[in-house]
């Protein structure tokens, strides 16, 4: 029996389905990321778990018991809001203490746990400061401490890092991950940032138009996207039209051929991640391409190329070698195993 179960959870506003039959089982201590573009229903899902939005169908079970009849104040969940939603008229420590006060924890114990929680997020020195006088990152930490101090059954994070600048966001990601590992709190993160989801989560739920397109560990989801949407949303990808030759067991693009055991159709679509493409010479299969832009980014090179009338993106690690320059004609090759082949969608009339 899983710790948290979403059972065909649905939410409709009037005629529009915001969340459609979402089913998910979360184990105790797991870190789950709900990932998707805005309007995909991820925040609504989180709000339903929190109890702020009432589902129109399905069930939410925590530890085997349905949460639907439980008020938000009775669910014992810790929530970090996108806006942090700190109490502006209370100091950091008063903010953190509020939840414990509601639980009826006595004053001495409260003080101990508040300073523990503030210490955990590295804010011990700012306990008496008001939120307005704190930076975004510090407010974020107070919000996290406030949610964690009540020892919630689940920690819900609603785009918690989206208001921070890039450098701070990376620091907080690492910190968040460490804190979650230390405490072992089951955590659900809502984000539209694919790198954040991959960095933090044990499993990613990729959502699109209210439905879960794929649920799996980050590496697996990235390497084996179940649908074109997942492939496009999780990292960049290059898509080429190809044909599958059943008799010779190979995929053909232009005059190059890659061995492949089977495919769904004769007309197929091949997608290859930018970092899997190499510049090849000699007998290796490859397609001709012209480099249109070359950008150096320190640890890697980013190429835009024109291949068979399509734009493609290539990423090459900076290994100290001299790379082809703009205007050069090259041959692009990749390993057979790095191709993801699926039937080409029918041309729309």
């Amino acid at each position: 029996m899983s710790f948290l179960v979403l059972d065909r959870l649905s939410k409709a506003y009037d005629e529009t389905m915001v969340v459609k039959d979402l089913s998910l089982s979360v184990e105790q201590g797991e870190f789950i990321a709900l990932l998707g573009p805005s309007g995909c229903g991820k925040t609504t899902t989180l709000q339903m778990i929190a109890g702020f939005v009432e589902p129109t169908g399905g069930d939410i079970r925590l530890g085997g018991q349905s949460l639907l009849a439980v008020r938000p104040s009775g669910r014992a969940l810790g929530i970090v809001f996108q806006s942090y939603a700190l109490f502006p008229h209370m100091t950091a420590s008063e903010n953190v203490a509020f939840g414990l006060e509601m639980q009826g924890v006595d004053k001495a114990e409260r003080g101990k746990r508040v300073s523990e929680a503030l210490g955990l997020v590295g804010l011990g020195a700012l306990a008496d400061r008001y939120p307005r006088r704190m930076s975004g990152g510090q407010q974020q930490r107070v919000a996290l401490a406030r949610a964690l101090v009540i020892r919630p059954r689940i920690l819900l994070l609603d785009e918690p890092l989206s208001n921070l600048d890039a450098k701070l966001r990376e620091e907080m990601q690492i910190e968040l991950r460490q804190i979650q590992r230390t405490l072992g709190t089951t955590t659900i993160l809502v984000t539209h940032d694919q790198s954040e989801a991959m960095a933090l989560a044990d499993r990613i739920v990729v959502m699109n138009k209210g439905e879960a397109e794929q649920i799996g560990p980050p590496f697996e989801t990235y390497e084996w996207p179940a649908t074109p949407f997942v492939a496009e949303f999780l990292g960049k990808t290059n898509v080429l039209d190809a044909t599958f030759d059943q008799a010779r067991s190979e995929v053909r693009i232009a005059d190059a051929a890659w061995p492949l055991r089977s495919a769904d159709a004769a007309d197929v679509q091949v997608s290859i991640r930018p970092e899997k493409i190499r510049f090849v010479t000699g007998a290796a299969p490859g397609i001709p391409a012209t480099i249109t832009t070359r950008i150096f980014q320190g640890n890697h090179w980013l190429f835009q190329v024109d291949a068979l009338g399509r734009k493609m993106t290539i990423i090459q690690q900076n290994d100290g070698e001299v790379k082809p320059s703009e205007g050069d004609v090259v041959r692009l090759g990749w390993m057979s195993a790095d191709m993801r082949v699926r039937a080409r969608p029918k041309e729309r009339a």
Binding site: P72, G74, R75, L77, S83, A85, L86, R132, R146
Partner: protein, 294 residues
């Protein structure tokens, strides 16, 4: 042009003064000068037969500050203003909260209902109250007596309670608007955050919402208090001639007794007292909430 053209730096430095000059002239002309003249008037002498004498004496001030009659009028003025303010807070703050939580079409409709009184003249509104509760002929009083709920008419006209009720009705919109403005600045997620931490509806209201709208309530209280203490029409109509407040007293001295210097003294004293009270409470609010609401 014969004058040398001024540089653009010159002109932009002068621009604020030039642009505000008309407003400044208006302010000086219709506010500052009359107030100073009124203040000067308080030191003049007046006699039944000699009229106003342009001298500088403290007779009026001595009279106002020593006679218990004036003390009584001012005490009544500020007592009623304080009562009106308390009632406006007790009714207006919850009303603003409910208004703020209403859904889209209703909110606009009820906002108009709440602000409606401001669209009608104070005199008309006050006379409306008089029609409802005025003696035995008042509509509401007659209804209550017919229903047997009261044996006699509820005393309303010429009572402090009557003035307080009518003034509260007149001034309530100011409190509601002020609290509403404060409520709109609240992050709705903050209430959700408190609920997720285990707080009940009542606790959220008391511990989370109320402290955040206190500045709005206090700002509304200052407006309501100032307007109630200086109100004229309502106390004049409902309070009548005997139940005097500072403003009706000043009016009577000016227009009935024709003792302008004494009326001016009452008016200036009211102004000074109001300024002191508002300035004091504003300081109090600012020092209390500086940390939180800067």
């Amino acid at each position: 042009m014969s004058t040398s053209p001024s540089t653009s730096a010159d002109r932009s430095a002068r621009a604020p003064y030039v642009l505000t000059a008309p407003a400044l002239a208006l302010f000086v002309g219709v506010v500052l000068v009359p107030i100073l003249m009124t203040a000067l008037l308080t030191f003049h002498d007046w006699g039944q037969y000699k009229g106003i004498e342009r001298v500088l004496i403290l007779k009026n001030w001595r009279e106002v500050l020593s006679d218990s009659y004036f003390y009584e009028v001012f005490a009544r003025t500020f007592r009623m203003a304080a009562l009106v303010t308390v009632l406006a807070i007790l009714i207006g703050a919850p009303e603003a909260y409910i208004l703020n939580r209403m859904r889209s079409p209703w909110r606009a409709i009820f906002l108009v209902v709440v602000l409606g009184p401001l669209l009608i003249s104070v005199v008309a509104r006050t006379l409306g109250w008089a029609l409802l509760f005025g003696g035995t002929t008042g509509v509401a009083n007659q209804a209550l007596m017919k229903l047997g709920l009261t044996s006699g008419p509820i005393p309303f006209m010429f009572t402090e309670a009557g003035v307080v009720i009518a003034l509260t009705h007149v001034l309530l919109p100011y409190m509601i608007l002020s609290v509403w403005a404060a409520l709109q600045r609240l992050d709705p997620q903050v209430e959700n955050a408190a609920a997720s931490l285990g707080a009940s509806h009542f606790t959220i209201l008391r511990r989370i919402v109320l402290p955040q709208i206190v500045p709005g309530i206090l700002a509304g209280a200052i407006i309501v208090f100032a307007l109630a203490a200086s109100a004229f029409a309502t106390p004049a109509i409902i309070g009548g001639r005997r139940l005097k407040v500072a403003s009706t007293l000043a009016y009577d001295e000016f227009l009935n007794t024709l003792n302008w210097p004494l009326g001016a003294t009452v008016a200036v004293l009211l102004l000074v007292a109001l300024v002191l009270i508002i300035w004091g409470s504003n300081r109090l609010i600012e020092s209390r909430y500086r940390e939180v609401f800067r």
